[in-house]
Symmetry: C2
Subunit: 155 residues, 2 copies
């Protein structure tokens, strides 16, 4: 499976689906001026090529009762491979974690979390982050707002 060849139509399809995967094949085809069968075929091909890895429902976290978001920067004291991987596994499975970035630099992980309130945020850090021995330091930054970006297909 070599590098897939993507034309402009594929990029338009991906751009649309990455914004709204609910569009029916019918309207998707009409929007791009494709035959329905062709459109369905191309979307399926993009899935089989692994370009589209899946689709996810987006949730309103505030309405769900988690109106407070934060980025928690996590710095380790020891960087053996097992330490890093075990902590990573633990962090991504902690309840409230939306995304976990393993990064280069002074910090090792950035955690994007959503919680009920400030108290829950404090408890999260204590229970799921600093409770790990290997964690040397954390820094918690309140998130005012998150916006989805234009993505890589905006050009």
């Amino acid at each position: 499976m070599g590098k897939p060849q993507l034309d402009q139509v594929d990029r338009l399809l991906l751009g649309t689906l990455s914004t709204d995967a609910d569009v029916s094949n019918k309207t998707l085809a009409a929007r791009l001026g494709l035959a329905e069968s062709t459109c369905a075929y191309r979307v399926r091909a993009l899935r089989e090529a692994g370009i589209i890895t899946g689709t996810r429902a987006q949730l309103d976290l505030a309405l769900l009762g988690y109106p407070l978001q934060a980025i928690i920067m996590v710095r380790l004291g020891s960087h053996t491979m097992t330490n890093v991987n075990q902590l990573y596994d633990a962090l991504v499975s902690a309840p409230g974690v939306i995304q976990a970035f393993h990064v280069a630099g002074a910090d090792d992980f950035y955690l994007h979390v959503a919680v009920e309130n400030a108290e829950a945020l404090r408890d999260f850090v204590l229970q799921h982050v600093t409770s790990h021995r290997v964690v040397r330091q954390t820094e918690t930054h309140l998130v005012f707002e998150v916006r989805g970006g234009a993505g890589v297909l905006a050009t």
Copy 2:
């Protein structure tokens, strides 16, 4: 429209759909032991309540030709409301931006970006970030890996 009352079934539905929104209503109902009509009704209700805001296709950015990801921290020199908002608007519409966080603390924005290579990353910062007068400083951190977290429904 007050605060919606979510029971355990709703939380299971949301947990499933936020992981894989492609499941058919039929299998979704079977998995939770609901009648198909009930299942469809509840999902629709969650949409109408605004809990489910939409669904998005997830893309494999590396396969798409953007194998390099980074977090760019952006610090402003002036924080008037118009400055902040105008920059925010510009940043989220810059090609390659996956997400933009407006945060509290020394930095103002964290940008999660995906690019073709290191050169493109440099160009992105120069063209779409530091080119704005109001930007005083940036700090770019390479992302080794991103993982989706357990989410808020993991409990």
